[in-house]
Every structure is written in C-alpha cells, then in structure tokens.
Symmetry: C2
DNA sequence: ATACATGCAAATCCTTTGCTCACTA
DNA sequence: TAGTGAGCAAAGGATTTGCATGTAT
C-alpha cells in the first residue's frame, strides 16, 4: 500500500525501472527484516524475470542514498529495512531467531553525548540485544 | 605480556598446541580489533607455518567457549576481541575506519530494563555508533 | 539519443571442510 | 596410544562484476 520507498527513489533522482519499482514496493511493504534472498523471492513473485544481481545492486544503491539501512543481526546474510522506520533497535531471540524492534530514546541521547565528548558527530546508531525469552 | 587468553584456554580444557598458543598470545596482546587475516599475519610472524584455516578454526573454537567475541563493525570481515575486555561498545569513524571503544553502563542498564519488560533475558548487547570526527 | 539499469554467468571474497599426517595429554 | 589438531587444497556461500542488451528520461 505504502509507496514511500518508491517516492524516496524519485526524490533522489533515481530512474524508476520496472525491477526497481517492484523491489521498492516489496521493501515498502515489508514489516520484517528480509535478507537479499528473501527480497528476491518476494520480487520474483511479482515479476519472475528479476535477477538476484539486480536486487543486490538495488539495495546497495538505496543504502548509499540513505533510503535503506543494512543490519547484521547475527546471521551471515545482510538484512535490510527502511531507514525511516520508527523502531531502530533490535532484540534478537537466539533460540527462535525472532526479532523484536524497540526504541530507546534516552539511551540513544546518552550515547550521542558520549560520542560528542569524544569529538564525534554520530549519524548512525546500531543497538542489538541478544538473549532468550524468559516469560510470555 | 598478558597471557590470559592462553590461561582461559587451559581452564576450558583445550589442548595447547603450538599454533594455538601463538594465536592465543597474539589475541592477548591485541589492543585493537583484528580480523582473521590480520590475526594470521601476526601469528605467522611468530611461526610462519601457521595456516589461515587454523586461525579460523581457533577463533571459532574460542568464540564457542565464550573466550572471544565476534564483532561486525561494518566491514565484510569478522573481527575479534577478548570477551573479558572492559570496553564493549564501539565508535566507528566512517572516514578513517578508526574504532574507539567506550562504556555506557547507564545506557546498558536501560536497555536491559527494556528487554526485561519484553520478557527477554539479555546475554549480549552490541552498541555501535558510526559517524565522523568533528573536532580534535 | 544518451546514460544508466538489467540479466546472465563468471569472478571474488571470506569462511568452512575433507583428508592425511602430526602432536598433546 | 587415543583422540584431537594442523596443513593444504578444494568446496561453499554470499556478494560483486564484465559484458552485451534493454529502457527511462
């Protein structure tokens, strides 16, 4: 439904080709953190001719434009999410692999302070917690 | 000077072979976050017969024993540091690639609280800040 | 029309593994 | 000596790239 990634592409002056539009939409619709293979799977459901190489090239391009963020989250494959998403941090259940997102504005502010004291201007903060569910 | 990694290996019942001892010492002496290639380079300075495969096997083994921690820090290659090191978080200068370590006990405590509220018991926290030097 | 994107297959990079021989406990 | 560990080379998985062709602007 949401076509914000596609819009961001246009705002960044990117040529909107068929494959790119499909990939942008797949990304906009994702509520999880798909890896490139999974993005390719979803994209080829819409247009089976889209190649894996194109998906790789597209996520790299969008990352360079700041539209997407790459996450590592333990596994060997890179995962992607829209940079504009609200919840930036991740809680990874080591047993099931489930990823819960959360915010921590206060912790974030503290970290920025620490960085500033070291003479750094921070543009990206990555926070990942790994553990296991106890309750619930 | 410090041989603590070697000691931890022994405490974990690991057989101390020549190559393993060299690698353990290289790790103990490292104050940075070497990748496997760099560890291999340092180890072969001591004993040129040590193979890259052995370095890979050793870091994996030590990670499984909890002696080492793997870090991703943006680049494609995994980096390692002793788990016992004081400073757990990283500030990465995107321009130079320099990594500064820091602590943030309060932020850490906050994050643990958030996780607990979600029913998680956290065992690892990764915090990485990416940015660039402004002053200094 | 021009510059850029795509598909395909081959190449690359990092890491793991199979096998045989060597060594530690 | 029994059981691992090591070295080498080959395999593997993820990602990138060269090249000829297609396409958006």
């Amino acid at each position: 439904m949401d076509i914000s990634i596609e819009r961001l592409c246009i705002e960044n002056g990117l040529k909107m080709t068929g494959p790119r539009r499909v990939i942008a939409r797949v990304l906009s619709e994702a509520t999880d953190h798909p890896d490139v293979d999974e993005l390719h799977r979803r994209a080829t459901r819409v247009d089976s001719r889209i190649s894996l190489a194109t998906v790789y090239r597209t996520v790299r391009l969008l990352e360079s434009k700041g539209i997407l963020s790459r996450r590592d989250l333990g596994s060997r494959r890179a995962r992607y999410e829209a940079s504009g998403d609200k919840h930036h941090f991740h809680l990874v259940d080591k047993e099931s692999g489930t990823i819960v997102e959360f915010d921590a504005p206060q912790a974030e502010a503290m970290l920025r302070e620490i960085a500033k004291a070291q003479g750094f201007e921070v543009d990206t903060i990555k926070i990942e917690l790994f553990g296991r569910r106890t309750a619930k």
